[in-house]
Amino acid sequence: MSKTMSARVLIQKFQRPLILLVLVVVLTLLQPDAFATVSNFKSIFLAISIYGVMVSGSIFTILLGGIDLAVGAVAALSGACTVLTIIAFNYSDIGVILGILAGLLAGCFVGLMHGVIISKFRVPAFLITVATMNIVYGAAELLTGNQTINIISPASFTFVGGGQLFGIPFPIYIVALMAFLSFIILNMTVFGRQVYATGGNPVAASLSGVPVFRTTCAAYIISGFTAAAAGIVLASMNQQAISKAAQGYENDVLTAIVVGGTSLMGGEGSIQGAIFGALLVGILNNGLRLMGVSSIYHTLVKGIIIIIAVSFDFYSRNRNSGLLRTGRLRLWMARQVAILMKEEKHQP
C-alpha cells in the first residue's frame, strides 16, 4: 500500500510539470518544426520575462493574504525614473547605475507605503493598491510630462532588456535570478517562513513572535522592488519610457500566481507554481500564434484551456486534501482514519 501511495504522491508532486508536458507534447505534435526548438523556448521565456519578474515579488503579497495591483504602475514609474536619470547624467554608464538604483528605489518606496498603510490601518489591500495604482500612474505622467522618452543609448542600458549573453536574452537571466532568489527567500529563510505563517493565520503568527508589521512591509517592498526591476527591463527592452507602460500587467501577474495554485486567502502556494502559471499562459500564447490562430480567438481558447488545466490540477491535488466536499471528502477522511488507526495500533 505504501508503495502505491508514494507513487501517487510522486504524481501529485509533479502534477504541474505534467500538465506543461502534456501541453508541450500536444503543441509539438501540432507544430513539429516550430514548437520544440531551443529558439522557441527562448522566445517563450522572453515573452514571460517581464511579468515573470513581477510575479517573483508579487507572490509574497499574495502569500500574506494581500494583493498588489500597482505592479504595472510601479513599473511605469521606475522605468521613467531610470530613463530620466540616465538622460540627466548624459547617457553615461554611471548614469545607468544611478538610474537603475533610482528606479528600484522608487519601487521600494511605493512598496513601503503599501506595507505601512495596509498593516498599520488594516485596510483591504485591494482598495489601497488600486488607489496607489492611480497615484503612481499619475506620478509617472507628471514625471514624463506624458511624452514618450526615447533612450537608444547607452549600450550598457539597452543591454539589460535587449542584450544576449551566451546566446540567451538577458531578461531571461533576470527572471531566472529573481525567481531563484524568491525561491530561496521563501523556502530557506526565516522571513519566508514568517510570510507563510502570517498569511496562514496572522493572529497565531503574531503570538508566535512573528513581527507581522515588518513582514508585511518587507513583502510589499519586495513586490515593489521586482515591479520596478520589471519596469527597468521593459524600458530597456523598448528603449523608451512611457507614462502608461505595463498597463494591465497586474492581471497577467495575478493570473500566473493564481493559476499556479496560490490561494488568494494567503498562506498557501509557491513560486514554482507561479512560474508554472506564467509558463502555462506563455506557452499557450506562443502555441496559438504558431498555429496561426487569429487573435480574436486567443482569449477564448486561453480561457477554456486554463479552466481545463486548473480544474485538473485542483482535482488531483485536492483529492487528498479535503477541499472537495462531496464524495471525495469521505474517501479522504476514510484514508485519514485508516492512517490514524494504523499509527495507533503500532504504538506499544
Binding site: R193, A204, A205, L207, S208, G209, E268, A338
Partner: protein, 507 residues
C-alpha cells in the same frame, strides 16, 4: 420511565473505511426523555457512530429503528426529518446573522416568497419563552458569548421539533457557570420528553447528567451503565482499558520557591481588568480561575505583550518589560492561547513549520539560511517528547486531532529555553489521555524551574496542577488561595463573588 419506551435503537452498526473497521457491531438504545452519554477515547468511534446516525456516513451493516420503525438515514436531511438534531463541537452558526435568522435558517417562514418577519419573530419569541432562555432574537450571533451561541444552537434544534438532540462536547469552551446553565437547560429538555445523546470527555458531567452511559473502545461497545453504576474509576478503566490515577477532589496548595520571576503591579486595561498585582515565583504554577470574561485571558495577553496595558508595571527578573511579543519570546516567555484554531497554530502549515516557527532564533542564529535538517530534528524531538500522533512532521497542523494540535502548540515552546509559560485553557476539548500528558508536561516544566501561569475553567484541573490560585472576578483579583487545601467549591464561590475571608494579594 417506561423501559420499553425506546426512541432510537441502533443494532449491530458496522462501518469501515478502506478496509479498516471503525465500528464493530455497535448497538445503541436511547430512551425517550433520557440523557444518554457516550464516552470513549479519541478514535474509539464516537464521532463515526454519530455521523452514521445523522446520515453523514452511510453505514455498512446494521439497522436503525426510530420510534420503533426501521429507518434508513442516508443524508443529513433524513436525520433532520426524523427529528434528530446535532449540536457540534465547533458551533455551526452563521456569525454575521441574527439569532432569529440562525434559528430558522433553512426553514424560513415565507409569505409569497417574501420573508414573513412578524411570524418568524413570534415563533422565536414563543420558543424562547417556552424554554425560559434569555436571548434577544435580533442580536447578531458574533456578538454573543459562546454559551449564548450554544443556546441558539439548542433552540435551532428545538425549532425543528427534534426529539433527539446529539450534543458533541457541548461544554468544551464553556465556563463553569455557563456549563451550569447548560445543564439546567438539559434538565428542562428532559422534562419535556426530549432525548439527549451526550458526548463529553468530562467525567464529572457525565456522572452528574447521564441517565445511562454507553462506553466505546476501539469501535466496540464495551459497556452500558445505568445511572447508579456510573463511577468515574470504572468508567475510565473501561474506556482506556487500564487503571488511571484519579486526581484528588481537592487541590493542596504548595509553597513556592522564594525567587520571584515576575512581579506585576497595579496592571490595568480599561474595560477589561484593573489593579492586578501579584508575584510569580520560579518553578511555580499559578492558577487563575474565574468566569470566562472576568479578564483572565486578557492578563495573559498583556503579560505576553500582544495587548498593551493602560497602566501598571510588569517586572520580569527585576527589569520592567513593556516590549513586543518577539522581545518577550526572546527573553523566555511562551503563550499557549485560549483558542487554538484562531490563535494557536497555523492550520495550512505543516506540523514541522508550526513547531519551529517560534524557534528560528535558536535554529538559525546569525546564519542566513535555515537548515532543513535541524528543523526536522527539532520537530522529531518535539514529536517524541510530546508523543504527537501521527508522527509525521509534514502533515498539516489543521488536519491533526484537537489534542495533537494542542501538543503542537505546547511543543513549539518546549523547544526553547523557556522561563515563563502562560497557558490558557490547555485542555479544552481534549480527551483524557492527552490531558494527562499535558498535565505531566506542565509539572515537568515547573520542576525544571519554569514559572507557569495557568488559566482554566476546568476546576479539577486548576486544583490539581496549581501551586497557588488567584480567582478573578469582574476584572479584579477577588481571592487568592496560597496555602492549605482548596476545594472546587471554594473556587466556585470566589468566582461567583462570595467570600468568607478577604485576602489581600500578598505584600
Amino acid at each position: 420511565m417506561n423501559v420499553d419506551d425506546i426512541l432510537l435503537r441502533a443494532v449491530d452498526i458496522e462501518k469501515s473505511f478502506s478496509g479498516v473497521k471503525v465500528l464493530k457491531k455497535v448497538g445503541l438504545d436511547i430512551r425517550r426523555g433520557e440523557v444518554h452519554a457516550v464516552m470513549g477515547e479519541n478514535g474509539a468511534g464516537k464521532s463515526t457512530l454519530i455521523k452514521v446516525l445523522t446520515g453523514v456516513y452511510p453505514r455498512d451493516e446494521g439497522k436503525i429503528f426510530f420510534n420503533g420503525a426501521s429507518v434508513t438515514i442516508n443524508s443529513r436531511q433524513d436525520a433532520k426529518d426524523l427529528g434528530i438534531a446535532v449540536i457540534y463541537q465547533e458551533l455551526s452558526l452563521i456569525p454575521t446573522l441574527t439569532v432569529a435568522q440562525n434559528i430558522l435558517l433553512g426553514q424560513e417562514i415565507c409569505r409569497a416568497g417574501i420573508l414573513d418577519n412578524g411570524a418568524m419573530k413570534l415563533a422565536i419569541r414563543k420558543l424562547i419563552e417556552t424554554y425560559g432562555f434569555s436571548l434577544n432574537p435580533d442580536a447578531i450571533v458574533e456578538t454573543l458569548s459562546i454559551a449564548q451561541r450554544q443556546t441558539v444552537e439548542i433552540l435551532k434544534a428545538l425549532s425543528m421539533q427534534s426529539s433527539l438532540i446529539i450534543m458533541d462536547e457541548p461544554t468544551a469552551s464553556l465556563s463553569v457557570k455557563e456549563s451550569e446553565n447548560l445543564f439546567q437547560t438539559i434538565g428542562a429538555l428532559k422534562k419535556r420528553g426530549v432525548s439527549i445523546l451526550y458526548i463529553s470527555h468530562r467525567l464529572e458531567e457525565v456522572y452528574r447528567l447521564a441517565d445511562r452511559l454507553t462506553i466505546l473502545r476501539d469501535g466496540e461497545r464495551i459497556a452500558v451503565l445505568s445511572q447508579g453504576e456510573i463511577n468515574p474509576r470504572d468508567v475510565i478503566r473501561l474506556m482506556i482499558g487500564k487503571e488511571l490515577r484519579q486526581s484528588e477532589h481537592a487541590g493542596r496548595m504548595r509553597p513556592s520557591r522564594p525567587e520571584v520571576v515576575l512581579r506585576v503591579r497595579n496592571l490595568s486595561r480599561r474595560g477589561v481588568f484593573s489593579d492586578i498585582s501579584f508575584d510569580l515565583h520560579r518553578g511555580e504554577v499559578l492558577g487563575i480561575g474565574g468566569l470566562v470574561g472576568s479578564g483572565r485571558s486578557e492578563i495573559l495577553h498583556c503579560l505576553f505583550g500582544s495587548d498593551r496595558p493602560d497602566s501598571g508595571d510588569i517586572l520580569f527578573e527585576g527589569k520592567p518589560i513593556r516590549g513586543t511579543v518577539s522581545r518577550n519570546i526572546r527573553s523566555g516567555f511562551g503563550l499557549v492561547p485560549e483558542d487554538r484554531r484562531t490563535q494557536g497554530f497555523i492550520p495550512l502549515l505543516s506540523m514541522k513549520r508550526n513547531i519551529v516557527l517560534t524557534n528560528y532564533d535558536h535554529l538559525v542564529g546569525r546564519r542566513l539560511f535555515i537548515s532543513g535538517k535541524s528543523e526536522l530534528a527539532m520537530c522529531r524531538d518535539a514529536i517524541q517528547r510530546l508523543d504527537i500522533r501521527p508522527a509525521n512532521s509534514e502533515i498539516h497542523a489543521g488536519n491533526l486531532s484537537g489534542g495533537n494540535q494542542q501538543k503542537v502548540v505546547v511543543g513549539k515552546w518546549l523547544m526553547r529555553d523557556l522561563k515563563m509559560l502562560l497557558i490558557d485553557e490547555p485542555t479544552a476539548g481534549i480527551d483524557v489521555g492527552v490531558k494527562e500528558d499535558i498535565y505531566a508536561l506542565i509539572g515537568e516544566l515547573a520542576e525544571k524551574g519554569v514559572a507557569v501561569i495557568l488559566v482554566s475553567s476546568d476546576l479539577p484541573e486548576l486544583l490539581r496542577i496549581s501551586h497557588r490560585i488567584l480567582v478573578m472576578r469582574k476584572g479584579r483579583i477577588f481571592r487568592e488561595f496560597s496555602e492549605g487545601s482548596v476545594s472546587q467549591e471554594d473556587v466556585l464561590k470566589a468566582a461567583s463573588g462570595i467570600q468568607d475571608r478577604e485576602i489581600e494579594s500578598n505584600e
